[in-house]
């Protein structure tokens, strides 16, 4: 339930007893006013009747009058100094009870005690109850509708900054965090929230940058000692007194170190792509890059006797740094060659906004959860550092390209689409 709906609901619930009390009070006030007027009428009536009676009785007549509304007759009861006014329920047409105001007093008219009872219908009082209830109900409904409309309008406008912040949090990316800013609003609570978010954001980003710089520096610093060891190994290799076993040991160490350094280089490349250090405004044709690499890889293709089938219906222009375009195609095409079997097939189809490359392979399909993961080396492949596809994925992500992989019957397919 929305916060505003909930507060509105509570508001309306507390409003019900308040309205009831107000209704009751209103009714009471009106009722008192009506009684006061009735009583005044009744007393005036009585005075008029007493005056009339006195003149009649002085003429020697005995007066008896009995109607539902007025009764005057001689009685044996004791004379009362004050009239009693009470509320009674009388029957009116169709046996509907209606309230009456009744005045009754025993007065002495020329020494004869007379019972005077005057009633006045208070039908209007019954109407008053329904009126007041109706008014209160109207007020309630009016308030309800008004609150609903307000609710809707307010939640649209008043909560806008909050929703904007939410949206920003949801779409935040670690490496692009620096550009995220939760701006000032004219609501204090949201300002507090946004200020805290800004603070948190800058702390996270700072930590992230520190971490990244450390990794990058470490990767950099590693290249020099590796260079030293490799140069020593290369010199050592020139020693003509070495036995075959020793030469092999040197070669294996060299290979391992080369691999370490390539791994380092790939990690640095990934970091650079993440840092958007390859931003560009120029477009490049992936088809042209592909054609270039088909020539560069020509020897390896012939070596494996691979059949290459290309259909280029489109030049597939993308806004991509030439270096990244090279890296993208080199990795995809390179993998297609490297993991192919002798006499296998590679198919590259480019049409519209789809770049499709598929190849037969000695490898099993790549499980989706491991597909673009870093350092996921396929079994039995020492020459791979497992970063190729991670780089491909990163290039695609940073440059608004979508990359998909599927595998069917020993054929692996990668598809790049422009987003």
């Amino acid at each position: 339930m929305k916060l505003l709906t909930k507060t509105t609901l509570y508001f309306l619930i507390t409003l019900i007893p308040l309205l009831a009390i107000a209704g009751f009070y209103l009714f009471n006030q009106f009722s008192k006013e009506i009684n006061y007027r009735s009583d005044k009428d009744l007393i005036n009536n009585e005075i008029a009747w007493i005056r009339y009676l006195e003149s009649e009785v002085n003429n020697g007549a005995t007066f008896i009058l009995k109607t539902p509304e007025l009764a005057i007759f001689p009685t044996q009861s004791a004379v009362e100094r004050y009239p009693t006014i009470t509320n009674i329920n009388g029957y009116w047409r169709h046996e509907n009870t209606i309230p009456y105001r009744q005045l009754s007093q025993v007065v002495s008219i020329s020494g004869i005690p007379y019972q005077i009872t005057i009633r006045q219908s208070q039908e209007q009082k019954a109407a008053l109850v329904t009126d007041v209830t109706r008014i209160m109900l109207f007020v309630f409904i009016g308030l309800f509708v008004a609150t609903l409309i307000f609710n809707w309008a307010i939640s649209k406008k008043l909560w806008m900054p909050f929703k904007r912040s939410l949206h920003k949090i949801r779409s935040v990316e670690l490496q692009k965090m620096q550009n995220v800013h939760f701006e000032e609003t004219n609501i204090r609570e949201f300002n507090e929230l946004n200020a805290s978010l800004n603070y948190m954001k800058s702390r996270i980003y700072k930590d992230y940058v520190n971490m990244k710089e450390f990794t990058e520096n470490a990767a950099h610093e590693m290249q020099t000692p590796v260079a030293v060891v490799l140069s020593k190994l290369e010199l050592l290799l020139q020693d003509s007194n070495l036995k075959d076993g020793q030469v092999q040991a040197i070669l294996q160490s060299t290979d391992a170190l080369r691999q370490l350094s390539k791994l380092n280089e790939s990690l640095l490349l990934l970091a650079k792509i993440e840092n958007n250090q390859f931003e560009t405004t120029t477009e490049i044709s992936l088809v042209e890059v592909t054609q270039k690499y088909l020539i560069l890889f020509d020897e390896f293709i012939k070596e494996k006797q691979l059949t290459i089938q290309t259909v280029f219906n489109d030049s597939f222009m993308v806004q991509l740094h030439p270096l990244l375009a090279d890296s993208l195609i080199m990795n995809l095409l390179g993998n297609a060659i490297k993991y192919n079997f002798d006499g296998g097939k590679i198919e590259i189809i480019v049409s519209g906004n789809k770049y499709h490359i598929s190849n037969t392979s000695v490898l099993d399909p790549i499980p989706p959860d491991k597909l673009f993961m870093r350092l996921n080396t396929s079994a039995g492949n020492e020459a791979s550092n497992g970063l190729g596809l991670a780089i491909v994925k990163k290039i695609a992500d940073v440059n608004n390209l979508a990359i998909e992989y599927h595998s069917e019957g020993g054929t692996h397919t990668f598809e790049i689409t422009k987003a």
Binding site: E221, V226, E234, L268, M330
Partner: protein
């Protein structure tokens, strides 16, 4: 041929000096910016190998200084940074080449050779190894004075072999020199073998001695001994 090496990592500096000296270069080495600057202003070198990250200054400033002096020396920058901007900046300042650490000493030697030949205005652009002559200007190979047709890759191979004559060259080093990073996508080094076979055949067919020696399981050596 006189080479100056400006590199602060002593161990690497020693390796470079040792390898280059063995290939017949006269080497001098210094370890910081100030010494480097002093050397380049006082002496003339054929080629200067300079690291970017140096104590007391940047190697790039030495490149600037050399250009300001209108020095004829070839310049190779060696750096741990494989950044495109650094490369472009270095080359823009007038460096002839940019080599990323770690590199093969044989690769550095090949590049120094290429630069020196490119820069020698006295027409001495050819390198000879007994009956074989490489005309770098025309990218031509003459054996006993007769032109032999080589493919691009074979020419690169031969050039590399002669620059690193008598040294054991591993398949990895050969592959990286001739094929660049693309070779990483080959399943094995078999492709090198066919090129070397062709190269050897063309040379011997033209009447040259067979200088390419296969070292068991490790690589090749181009030698007259």
């Amino acid at each position: 041929m006189k080479i100056l090496i400006i590199e602060d990592e002593k161990a690497l500096q020693e390796s470079i000096v040792k390898y280059l000296s063995h290939q017949g270069f006269i080497c001098e080495a210094v370890s910081d910016f100030l010494q480097g600057k002093e050397k380049v202003t006082q002496f003339v070198y054929d080629c200067i190998v300079v690291d970017i990250g140096l104590p007391y200054g940047s190697g790039l400033d030495i490149v600037k200084e050399l250009k300001y002096m209108e020095s004829k020396a070839g310049i190779i920058i060696i750096s741990a940074k494989n950044a495109l901007e650094d490369k472009l900046q270095g080359l823009d300042l007038g460096a002839d080449d940019y080599l990323v650490k770690p590199f093969y000493l044989s690769e550095l030697t090949a590049r120094i050779n290429a630069i020196i030949r490119r820069r020698s205005f006295e027409g001495n652009k050819a390198i000879t190894f007994h009956e074989i002559m490489l005309d770098a200007g025309a990218r031509r190979v003459l054996v006993n004075g007769k032109t032999v047709d080589f493919t691009d890759k074979e020419y690169q191979l031969l050039e590399y072999f002669i620059a690193n004559q008598r040294r054991l060259l591993t398949k990895g080093a050969i592959a990286e020199h001739v094929w660049g990073d693309e070779y990483l996508h080959a399943s094995n080094f078999d492709f090198i073998y066919s090129h070397i076979k062709n190269l050897r055949k063309k040379l011997t067919d033209a009447g040259s001695e067979d200088y390419i020696k296969t070292e068991y399981r490790s690589g090749y050596r181009f030698t007259d001994r």
